[in-house]
């Protein structure tokens, strides 16, 4: 043990490079004693930051003498710090020794504190930068799965998830952060220097808080897509930790909604909408409501032509359409959760209908996406057929009846475009089926709407007849091959093909009982003409 200072001193003198594997080097030079030993595994494992274990100096604990050993050990390191105070690389290497020292839980943070106090803030910061720089070069260098630069919110969120599966405590990242911050908290300005995977580990594993000050917020508009994506992913990650997002304000919301809409605001709104359907969102510590409110206000306060064109064109179907529908509904809330559809601003009606029409008009694009992507099984995503999807269907139904942008002919042409896919193999046919299910669900959503005028009801009848004359027959014949339709004793769970059929039957049953049943007479008679089975809505 007496030898420790000497051996370390000589080692630090002789090494002018940053040595992450310093413990492995030292293990051969320091004899193992009853108070100090080494833990080294020569195992390659690419969950480790360097593909191998960096090793630990293990300090004895649990007996009366141990505290004096720890004091001696930290005194030795502090003495070395003194000796090498002007040698940057040696200080970095001393810090790495501290990182790789294993003892009682709070010992390491005590040592880091002593070390930082000894060398002062400027040196600490510069060591922090050197270590982070080196890590961005070296870390997970060999692991192709991790070495990636997330480019959008989804990729960032995926990286956060991936961090969960890494050996996140293999390097004490929190101790590295302590070089520049007392808390696990960083100023946003430090963040771009930190490699994505370390950010992910810090946020996911160590709960790092990132703070944006007023100046950062003022500059949000100038940030790159990549950094905005990171910020949005960070917000999503911390939706239930209000203290991590104290800085979120209307100015941030405006920047995300107006300047960074396509890769920022849209992603955040849609995620919050999803979260709001979960029970967890009702917990008091949830951050959802204030952030959501800021985003909604930003939307409703900026409904200018330029922004409308930004928000309403190039919508991804159906995710973006759902997001926009919810934003529209939020602006026309009248009393608590009640909406008044007639308040939907005139200037967004046609553009919304047309935008959805445009996203459906090329079935081939949707089909190609489905049949070439092994992971996707559906285009219309009826999995999310809950209140959120229902809101979208209702808004669209209302606008189809009130706005003239989608004429009878347009709908008929669209139906014909999809009809030919009923003639194709399974995946393609499924897209045709989903299209009919979507159109039926939109039209059947009339049951959610009150106060329609006669001319609206006439238009509904006309639109329905376009469907019954074109795609209803092949849909009915194919749909009733499904056990959910023909078997009154159906016991299996709903899946992505039965779920829309369940809702169609539910709505048909309600329609049959409702005051709209008169205008739906032709629809019911056509269904009866085409089908063989007794459908669930009839039972």
């Amino acid at each position: 043990m007496d030898n420790l200072y000497g051996v370390l001193s000589e080692y630090l003198d002789n090494n002018t490079m940053l040595k992450w594997n310093i413990i492995i080097d030292l293990a051969s030079q320091i004899p193992i004693s009853n108070i100090i030993s080494f833990s080294i595994h020569n195992k390659v494992d690419y969950r480790y930051p360097f593909d191998y274990d960096l090793g630990y100096i293990c300090l004895e604990e649990g007996n009366n003498e141990s505290e004096s050993v720890l004091t001696y050990y930290s005194d030795t390191l502090l003495a070395l710090t003194d000796r090498f105070i002007d040698n940057h690389i040696a200080l970095c290497n001393i810090f790495i020794i501290i990182l790789r020292s294993s003892s009682r839980s709070d010992y390491k943070s005590e040592m880091v504190n002593m070390f930082v106090n000894k060398i002062g803030n400027d040196r600490s910061k510069s060591i922090f930068l050197t270590l982070i720089d080196s890590l961005s070069e070296e870390l997970y260098k060999q692991n192709n799965n991790i070495k990636q630069n997330p480019k959008n919110v989804d990729e960032w969120c995926r990286l956060f998830r991936m961090a969960t599966y890494l050996d996140s405590h293999a390097l004490s990242y929190n101790s590295i952060i302590m070089l520049v911050s007392q808390k696990i908290r960083l100023d946003f300005r430090c963040v771009p220097k930190i490699p994505p995977i370390i950010r992910a580990i810090l946020i996911d594993f160590y709960g790092l808080e990132i703070h944006l000050n007023q100046d950062d917020i003022k500059e949000l508009d100038t940030l790159s897509e990549n950094e905005i994506s990171f910020i949005v992913a960070y917000i999503i990650e911390n939706l239930y930790h209000p203290e991590a997002l104290e800085w979120f304000n209307p100015e941030v919301a405006d920047s995300l909604m107006l300047t960074h809409w396509n890769y920022g605001g849209k992603k955040l709104v849609s995620r919050i909408i999803l979260e709001k359907t979960k029970q967890q969102s009702k917990k008091p510590q949830s951050n959802l409501s204030p952030i959501y409110k800021d985003l909604i206000n930003s939307f409703s306060n900026h409904l200018t032509d330029a922004n409308i064109s930004l928000w309403f064109t190039g919508l991804e179907f159906p995710e973006d359409c759902i997001t926009i529908s919810i934003l529209i509904l939020e602006t026309i809330k009248v009393d608590g959760d009640e909406y008044n559809l007639s308040l939907i601003p005139e200037n967004i009606r046609s553009i919304f209908c047309n935008s959805i029409f445009q996203s459906l008009i090329k079935p081939e694009t949707l089909i190609r996406k489905l049949i070439t992507d092994e992971n996707s099984t559906t285009v219309f995503n009826f999995f999310t057929l809950d209140s959120v999807y229902q809101n979208f269907l209702t808004v669209l139904c209302y606008l189809l009846l009130k706005d003239d942008s989608i004429s009878k002919k347009k709908l008929k042409d669209l139906c014909f475009k999809y009809r030919k896919y009923f003639y194709c193999d399974y995946d393609t046919l499924r897209v045709a089926e989903e299209f009919v299910e979507f159109v039926l669900l939109v039209l059947l959503s009339i049951i959610q709407i009150n106060g329609l005028e006669d001319k609206d009801l006439e238009k509904w009848k006309d639109l329905v007849s376009m469907v019954t004359d074109t795609v209803l027959y092949p849909y009915i014949v194919n749909a009733e091959e499904e056990e959910y339709i023909w078997n009154p004793e159906y016991e299996l769970n709903m899946n992505y093909t039965t779920l829309p059929k369940y809702y169609i039957n539910l709505y048909l049953r309600e329609l049959f009982k409702s005051s709209y049943s008169v205008i739906a007479k032709d629809l019911f008679s056509k269904i009866s003409e085409y089908k063989t089975a007794v459908w669930p809505y009839e039972r």
């Binding site: 390659v44 690419y46 060999q142 003639y423 078997n487």
Partner: protein
């Protein structure tokens, strides 16, 4: 269902013949569809004008939608009279000599009528390749000139038709009969005592519709009448059955028969996947047990593939199959080793490789990964010959071969971090004696003595492949001769590790 489906889709693929208005028939496909039309008219997609599928093959497509009667008439006129009317124009086809064959299910119900082409080498060679057929069927993001509407032909099915020389297929309309063993009457391991199901039919109240269930030995187990108001039937059986035959009779006449086996007692064998890898073409692999008992001769021509990427994907798969057949200890004799690796100018780092080398190395990577790094590759080359293929860096002090070996070493060790492939998994050996053939072998050590087996002839070197044949040597005496000669070369070969390090 008061209105029975009557629609069909007809797909017609032809090739234009120079200096004539006639078109060579490549493929004719008629499929009945669950749709209905009151009209007798034929709807030709894009007015029946031929739509070019790919410039390379000059194949044209036409698609028609029409009722049963019209579809039958068009199909027969093309096959029997070699002509049909398309939107008012008479189009004449060159139809090869064909043999008509009725395809029936095991219970002799007609499922399709197929016409088999009797002319040898009739199809364009490109259609023999599965990947090209998939592209034509639309299963690709990049390739837009596919058969429209997308999905009219399932991709693997198209290739199967072509491979079996079926030039025209007339599928027959089938009724939908769905059924299952009733949950309440089922016992695990024994089957069900009640079958519940549904027949989709335009029922006529004057007729009787009966479902009869027999067991595997075709012994009667139960029957019931179908409820014509819902198409529903419930057959109570005299015994538990797990599989058997379902017969559908209309007024006592057999209309359909289905062999069935109830799905039950399924135990999923879930292997927890600890690791997956993505190959050079973006495909994912999981760890499996590699072993293949046979290797068929394969021919690969780059030019036959519509997509170059598909071509090299297929080449990589050929090597991968070859390796899993030969493994775990694989000896490769190729005078040029794996060819030259171009330097990356900026760094002198051989990190780029020609596509065929990439395919080869990719196959090594997948094989190593899937075998959990239990495979080993020894590549023996002939420096006397290899030298001629390599350019020397003028400023370098190493010999031309040392330079090449260094490149191999760098290249291989960069590929699958953290595994350094060279020399533990892939090693190179120099052979002094000249040889020029290329063979792949499996190396075995039995009772301490080394032997080579399963010789495979490879007709070209890895360097920059445009075409290659893979031919397993089947004749025993020829195989023995090749193995003994190359075993002696292998024994005398020097590892390049020795060459580099003295």
């Amino acid at each position: 269902m008061k209105t029975a489906p009557n629609m069909n889709v007809l797909l017609l693929l032809t090739q234009k013949i120079c200096n004539t208005k006639e078109e060579k028939l490549i493929f004719l496909f008629k499929k009945p569809i669950n749709d209905y039309s009151e009209s007798d008219s034929v709807y030709w997609f894009r007015n029946g004008n031929p739509i070019k599928l790919t410039g390379k093959l000059s194949i044209n497509q036409r698609v028609a939608f029409c009722n049963d009667k019209e579809a039958e008439s068009i199909f027969n006129s093309i096959i029997d009279e070699n002509a049909t009317d398309i939107n008012g124009n008479k189009v004449i086809f060159q139809v090869p000599n064909v043999t008509r064959k009725e395809i029936r299910d095991p219970n002799l119900i007609l499922s399709s009528v197929s016409y088999f082409c009797n002319v040898l080498n009739y199809y364009p060679i490109e259609l023999q390749i599965k990947e090209n057929c998939n592209l034509l069927c639309g299963y690709s993001i990049e390739y837009k000139n596919c058969i429209k509407p997308i999905g009219i032909l399932p991709p693997l099915q198209f290739h199967t038709y072509i491979q079996s020389n079926q030039i025209a297929i007339n599928l027959q309309r089938k009724k939908c009969i769905s059924f299952r063993g009733a949950h309440t009457a089922s016992v695990q391991g024994r089957g069900s005592k009640q079958i519940i199901g549904f027949v989709q039919e335009s029922f006529d109240n004057k007729k009787k519709y009966i479902i009869k269930i027999n067991n595997d030995a075709d012994e009667f187990k139960g029957e019931c009448a179908i409820d014509t108001s819902s198409g529903l039937f419930k057959v109570d059986l005299s015994d538990y059955i797990a599989s058997g035959k379902l017969y559908y009779y209309i007024n006592g006449k057999l209309n359909m028969c289905i062999d069935f086996s109830l799905v039950q007692d399924i135990v999923l064998n879930i292997n927890i996947i600890t690791n997956t890898m993505t190959d050079a073409y973006g495909r994912s692999y999981h760890r499996t047990n590699l072993s293949r008992d046979c290797m068929k001769p394969i021919t690969w021509y780059k030019s036959n593939y519509i997509s170059v990427n598909d071509a090299y994907k297929a080449l990589s798969d050929i090597f991968y199959h070859l390796f899993s057949y030969l493994g775990p200890d694989i000896i490769i004799f190729d005078p040029y080793f794996i060819g030259n690796l171009p330097d990356n100018n900026a760094t002198k780092d051989p990190i780029t490789s020609p596509e065929s080398q990439k395919a080869f190395i990719n196959a090594i990577g997948i094989t190593l990964f899937e075998s959990v790094f239990t495979f080993k590759f020894t590549i023996c080359g002939c420096p006397k010959r290899a030298k001629s293929q390599v350019t020397k860096d003028s400023g370098c002090e190493l010999t031309i071969m040392e330079e090449l070996y260094n490149k191999y070493q760098k290249y291989l060790n960069k590929l699958m971090p953290p595994y350094k492939l060279y020399p533990k998994y892939v090693n190179f050996f120099e052979v002094d004696d000249e040889f020029h053939n290329r063979y792949y072998f499996s190396k075995n050590i039995i009772n301490g003595s080394t032997s080579l087996s399963k010789p495979i002839i490879i007709t070209n070197s890895i360097g920059n492949l445009k075409e290659v044949d893979v031919i397993p040597v089947e004749d025993e005496s020829q195989a023995n001769m090749i193995c003994s000669k190359y075993l002696s070369l292998l024994s005398a070969a020097k590892s390049i590790n020795e060459v580099l390090n003295g």
